[in-house]
Amino acid sequence: MIKIKTRIFDVGAGIIGLAIAAYIYYASGSFPEPHESQLGAAVFPRLLAILLILFVVFITLDNILKKDKTVFYIKNEMQVLFCFIALLVYGSIFKSIGFLIATPFFIAALLLILRLKNFKTIVVVSLSTTILIYVVFKMLLSVPLPPGIIDSIG
């Protein structure tokens, strides 16, 4: 379990907020000047950048005044992290490899991460879920699922 001080997280979020605001100001400098009575491409984003800075300041002041000592926890952080990595890998390869091949491995990986230990169950759940999704979405709902290498073999 990871313990994170809300104050520290707020500082991090605030820094990212300020960086975004600074980027908006920098990037909008190159936007074309508006004609008369036109809003202009830079006005609205700059207004938002100012508001963002104001709320970063407000959150920071609130933390200082309240002497915020609250914390929050992320339980099972390794499982969360591994799931995130598995999602990234699956998301990046499922188009090239194909839904039918990538998905059983992804399901098996997630079930292993979530500590399902029975090998038989993992295999059955992985294959049956993949086939079920394929039948429902590809065949019944005509959702385009990437064929991947199966297509090139065919």
Binding site: Q38, Q79, L87, G91, L110, L116, F137
Partner: protein
């Protein structure tokens, strides 16, 4: 109007909309019953799979999931003491004690009847009130739309959760995200980092799935080892006529409370349920017994929250303003379906809107049938292994975000927003304001541009139109009330 409504019913039964509604209610009850899954997530997850259908069918599915999901939450509230959705929080107070005393079947029957009747009353109010509001809204010009959009954004005060500042921080981030892509007035590409994928800005659907489905799936991963223990068995699902007479007045009163609460943007089904419960307790001759397992304590919140579902659709359909998370996602769904939410929907697509109204009315019949006949089946679903459900949500999220444009970039957006959304929620930064910002940002900016063009750059135009004054007052009152509530919270 009755002619349109009859057409709506005719279209509902003669098209696939009825099947869509049936499937939506069924899926919604399952999603709502499973703790950790909400109606909002269900709608977000299913949009990519229904967008190819006609708008009537797609919207009927969404309506079904919303209504079914809010009802389904009561099943786990009664059987597990865990509200399946926040809306069922008040139902645990009397539902679980009743189940513990061996009357789980009766508790589910009360919840089912109250949800269906409350939802029906709410749906009828929606059907007859919404077109009148839309008529007024048709008078809106660009200045009114600017203020309407800003009014919608002030709803962040109420959906922000613990910290209003964090809510507005997220809302502004949403507004900034919405500025990406080609500027609606000048046509200049903004903040695209040279990427073709960002030329039209971030696509709404992957963001929506990331924020509302993937982030919640990460939360399920975090809590995967928390035990769920279903001990109660269902014997007889039903109530006597005498019991029905006891709960009927509470159902009717709560339905009106719920619809009104839903129609006020910024509230939600959970608030409607607790207010209905409070009012039932206050007005009951045996209020002191509430909390020990009385049927009125289940009927009132369940009627209130399902009526609220319909009330929440009033501002969404008539003004294009989402009052809370589920309608914000539905609004996103409407836009993805190519419909412009707001009064023009009534003028340009009456056949769609009245089929949807017919769906909202009919959804309650399905709730009644599923609830009374399928209670044992839904109770069994609570035993499904959490890790398999979580895995399924991840996969549906990925293929859902990919399906609309066959673009891996959208998948990356979904995963990114899902993970960041999960962390932000943990730290007290709510995600619904971000969606409000993304949806309302373009409305405010493009109409502000048009307003300046028609007024020759004169910003005082906002003070020269009567409807604008109405919105200015509403904005001041909303922000003022939000601040007042926060000050109260701060002091206590």
């Amino acid at each position: 109007m009755l002619g349109y409504l009859l057409y709506g019913f005719e279209h509902l039964v003669t098209s696939w909309a009825l099947v869509g509604l049936l499937a939506g209610v069924f899926a919604g009850v399952i999603i709502g019953a499973l703790p950790g899954l909400t109606a909002t997530m269900g709608i977000a997850l299913l949009i990519p799979f229904v967008y190819k259908f006609t708008p009537e069918v797609a919207l009927s599915v969404m309506v079904g999931i919303f209504a079914g999901g809010i009802y389904g939450g009561s099943i786990s509230a009664i059987l597990l003491n865990i509200p399946g959705t926040p809306a069922a929080g008040a139902t645990t107070l009397d539902g679980f004690p009743m189940a513990q005393s061996g009357h789980a079947g009766k508790a589910i029957a009360v919840s089912t009847i109250a949800s269906a009747l409350g939802g029906l009353i709410g749906a009828l109010i929606l059907t007859f009130l919404a077109p009148q509001i839309a008529k007024v809204a048709l008078l809106f010009g660009p200045p009114e739309y600017v203020l309407l959009g800003i009014y919608g954004l002030t709803m962040i005060s109420f959906v922000a959760g613990k910290s209003m500042a964090k809510g507005y921080f997220m809302g502004i981030l949403g507004l900034i995200i919405a500025t990406q892509g080609i500027d609606p007035i000048s046509g200049y590409p903004r903040f695209t980092f040279g990427s073709l994928n960002l030329l039209n800005g971030l696509y709404l659907l992957p963001v929506l799935i990331g924020l509302f489905a993937v982030s919640q799936a990460f939360e399920s991963v975090e809590l995967w080892d928390e035990p769920v223990n279903l001990q109660t068995k269902l014997y007889r699902v039903g109530i006597s006529l005498k019991e029905f007479k006891t709960i009927l007045p509470h159902i009717i009163k709560s339905a009106f409370i719920g619809t009104f609460i839903g129609a006020v943007p910024g509230t939600g089904t959970d608030i409607a349920a607790f207010l209905s419960y409070g009012e039932a307790k206050r007005s009951s001759p045996h209020g002191e017994k509430f909390g020990t397992g009385v049927i009125e304590g289940i009927a009132a919140p369940e009627s209130g929250n399902n009526a609220c579902v319909n009330g929440a659709m009033i501002p969404m359909f008539t003004l294009g303003i989402p009052g809370e998370a589920a309608t914000a996602v539905m609004l996103g769904g409407l836009m993805i379906l190519g419909l412009q939410p707001g009064p023009l929907l009534f003028r340009d697509n009456p056949q769609v809107i009245y089929t949807v109204f017919a769906s909202t009315i009919s959804s309650n019949i399905f709730i009644l049938v599923f609830g009374l006949m399928g209670a044992r089946f839904f109770a069994r679903i609570l035993n499904l292994p959490k890790n398999v459900i979580t895995t399924l949500i991840f996969i549906l999220s990925i293929i859902g975000s990919y399906a609309m444009r066959n673009n891996v970039f959208d998948v990356a957006v979904t995963i990114g927003f899902g993970f960041v959304g999960f962390l932000m929620v943990k730290a007290g930064y709510p995600v619904p304001p971000m969606l409000l910002g993304i949806i309302l940002g373009p409305i405010v900016e493009s109409n502000l541009g048009r307003t300046l063009l028609i007024s020759d750059g004169d910003l005082f135009i906002f003070f020269k139109r009567p409807i604008c004054w109405l919105f200015i007052i509403l904005i001041v009152v909303t922000v003022g009330t939000g601040l007042k509530n926060r000050m109260k919270m701060y002091r206590s």
